[in-house]
Symmetry: C2
Subunit: 417 residues, 2 copies
């Protein structure tokens, strides 16, 4: 088995340090590198200062075989990354004609005038291998230096992803001989980390040394990640499958999916399989449930639509909720949530209807119905199930958790269809 290939990711930009933007690039890069068997050992964010960038490059050089740098290539960044790489590698800047042609074409195509700032984006360090960016004017660059590979990418996520997927990852796989690392993720909902840990303790203790388990608590669920390392692809797959088969009986009712399955994809697949259509009535989630469902490409095959009924008048006019029900029990009640789920199913003419209504906060709470009091329901042609959630005081969390729970309720109902 060959040695582990180590990578470090360096992101450049004051805006990341100052928290003006959230860095989502490094998580994505981490996943992609892990999937080709490269071990990410560190991520570093530094500002737009040459000395800080140089120091981070020197440190990374000591620890890693691959150094991936994102950001600092924008025209108004004065291309700090390229200038710093010239200093670091001890080379000059050379205008790249292919890059220039692409920048020029990019602006012609959009009928915009090109500025010198833009033209300067075609200048690259002399030792760079140019990696074509099809989606923007900032170049991708590949360097080989003292036995390490350095890669510089733009910080704009979709440009970076395009370059990584189509240019860099294939070249890295080709360049390095890596051990095989296989992951299997089991996604659970409705059970806390420590309780899950105790339930599967015996199984976990019996795992072979080359298979590691990690608990990844996240919003509304805990993910179990199995990581197997070896040199026999088929064998690793088989061993992971065996371990999953062993643990499933202990946690079956809490498992909604595997690997990259998101709850919205899982219910989508179930709706397609069972040839059922879905509609949604949302009060406190305000459209978030629908937005999650429609994140899935092709969701129009089973999702017909939603009514976001923030005001009672809309609950009455669009969902057929009885005014007396609202008067007697209020909008946040089992009676109302039942009428919302059944109402949207009937009005929009779908097989299944789900609904949410509650107090997301921070305002609107009462002693009887404090912030976090939320009802969810799922109506099918067979029955309507309802459930009361008692959540916390944070609006965003209440919206996201309610969405997770109502989609899981839908999943449980669909399994029985």
């Amino acid at each position: 088995m060959t040695n582990t290939v180590r990578a470090e990711v360096i992101t450049i930009g004051d805006e990341i340090l100052f928290g003006q933007i959230t860095d989502t690039n490094t998580a994505w890069i981490g996943t992609e590198l892990t999937n080709i068997g490269v071990r990410v050992v560190r991520k570093t964010s530094v500002g737009d200062q040459q000395d800080a960038i140089l120091q981070s490059l020197q440190e990374a050089h000591q620890r890693a075989d691959i150094i991936i740098i994102t950001g600092g290539l924008g025209p108004t960044k004065d291309d700090i990354t390229k200038k710093t790489l010239c200093t670091y590698f001890g080379v000059g800047m050379v205008r790249n004609e292919i890059a220039l042609a692409l920048v020029t074409g990019f602006f012609e195509k959009r009928g915009r005038e090109m500025t010198d700032l833009n033209r300067g984006q075609a200048d690259l360090p002399a030792n760079a291998t140019y990696m074509q960016n099809d989606w923007g004017t900032a170049p991708g660059m590949w360097f080989e230096h003292e036995g390490r590979v350095y890669v510089s990418l733009p910080g704009v996520p979709f440009e970076m992803k395009h370059l990584m997927s189509n240019r860099i990852l294939p070249k890295l796989t080709e360049h390095f001989k890596t051990p095989i690392i296989k992951h299997k993720m089991i996604r659970t909902v409705g059970i806390g980390e420590s309780f899950l840990a105790e339930r599967i303790e015996a199984w976990e203790d019996a795992l072979p040394d080359h298979i590691k388990l990690a608990y990844l608590p996240s919003f509304g669920g805990v993910k179990l990640r199995l990581t197997a390392t070896g040199d026999d692809n088929a064998l690793l797959d088989q061993e992971l499958a065996e371990q999953v088969a062993k643990v499933m009986p202990l946690i079956e009712k809490n498992v909604y999916g595997f690997d990259s399955d998101e709850i919205e994809n899982v219910v989508g697949k179930l709706l397609v399989e069972k040839n059922l259509t879905l509609s949604v009535a949302e009060s406190c989630t305000g459209g978030y449930v629908s937005a999650q469902i429609t994140k899935v490409p092709g969701s129009s095959a089973y999702f017909w639509g939603s009514v976001v009924s923030y005001s009672n008048s809309v609950k009455i006019s669009q969902l057929g909720v009885q005014p007396e029900t609202l008067d007697q029990f209020g909008a946040v009640s089992e009676e109302t949530i039942r009428q919302m789920a059944e109402g949207v199913r009937k009005t929009l003419g779908t097989n299944v209807g789900i609904a949410t209504s509650g107090i997301a906060g921070p305002g609107g709470g009462t002693p009887e119905k404090p912030v976090g009091t939320i009802w969810i329901a799922c109506a099918t042609d067979q029955r309507t199930v309802t459930r009361l959630l008692k959540l916390g005081q944070y609006r965003d969390q209440n919206i996201q958790l309610t969405t997770m729970y109502v989609l899981n309720m839908l999943r449980e109902e669909l399994i029985n269809q």
Copy 2:
């Protein structure tokens, strides 16, 4: 003026390196530290390995006055952070009775049985000042060591935020004498970074040395961040206000807000000011527009509801779109978007109605209407405006950009009301 206080943020967890979770904590911490005049000079993510954590602590010690550590405190993490801090500081672990009482109470309150794993969370390095976590069982810790302050916090975002806001930030402000750093953010939409840069070039070049400008391109807009450093609070505010007054005439029509203003908050304020109500008809955005609007606490004061009409039948039954219009022009057409905006306004009985309809992709494109062809509209009692967007091929981007543009269209209409 006192010297700049420098901070580094270290996040601990394989799940961050492997990209299993996106680190949103450090962006939030970066903002909060920046706002109290602390300069964040680096962010580092390392795995759950003692040697890597120790190395990152030693490096940070060389560069920073404040070292903030998040993560590695969960029960199943075997509290790697605490054990490593004991090694780093050369101290032993001591059970903290206040922490134990809180952990015990936390479980009693929830009627759950406490495990030894949980009990262990009350053990702290001997030199730790215990910082009470009101929202979970993982402790906050404050250390003073060789003239530096070390802070250890749980990785769960809402627990970390609670500890930072209520315990750590006040203590840091008290402990360090920091120069005054003031920020002013100008948020623009509908103009590219390099074009914005050229338009304000003369103004930018004339900025005094102690006021810096940064361009922060983000989805659907570019933010301009002015940073002023000095020791006279009132003077800095005045100088920033003067610079904003100078640049505004050049970019007025592209500016939707300042500082933390999000477009959904800006339109919310306008609707309240003008005492107008809003409804939304969403096709391709699938609920995302509504979800953004309802992220704002108190949005129920002006937002009555939405119809997410993914299927044509819902466009007809809920929005009153004419079947002939759909037959003749299709769902993605100026005629349809007009009827959707006017329809939702009428059906839900609001003053203003906005609508989106298009091909978000990846499927559904045609030669005449490729993926990214999206119509938006805004209907008031005075008129209905429509606009055709020609966006890219990425579903998520198309949904987010369309939302930004339709909310900005709403903003422009509200200003004229």
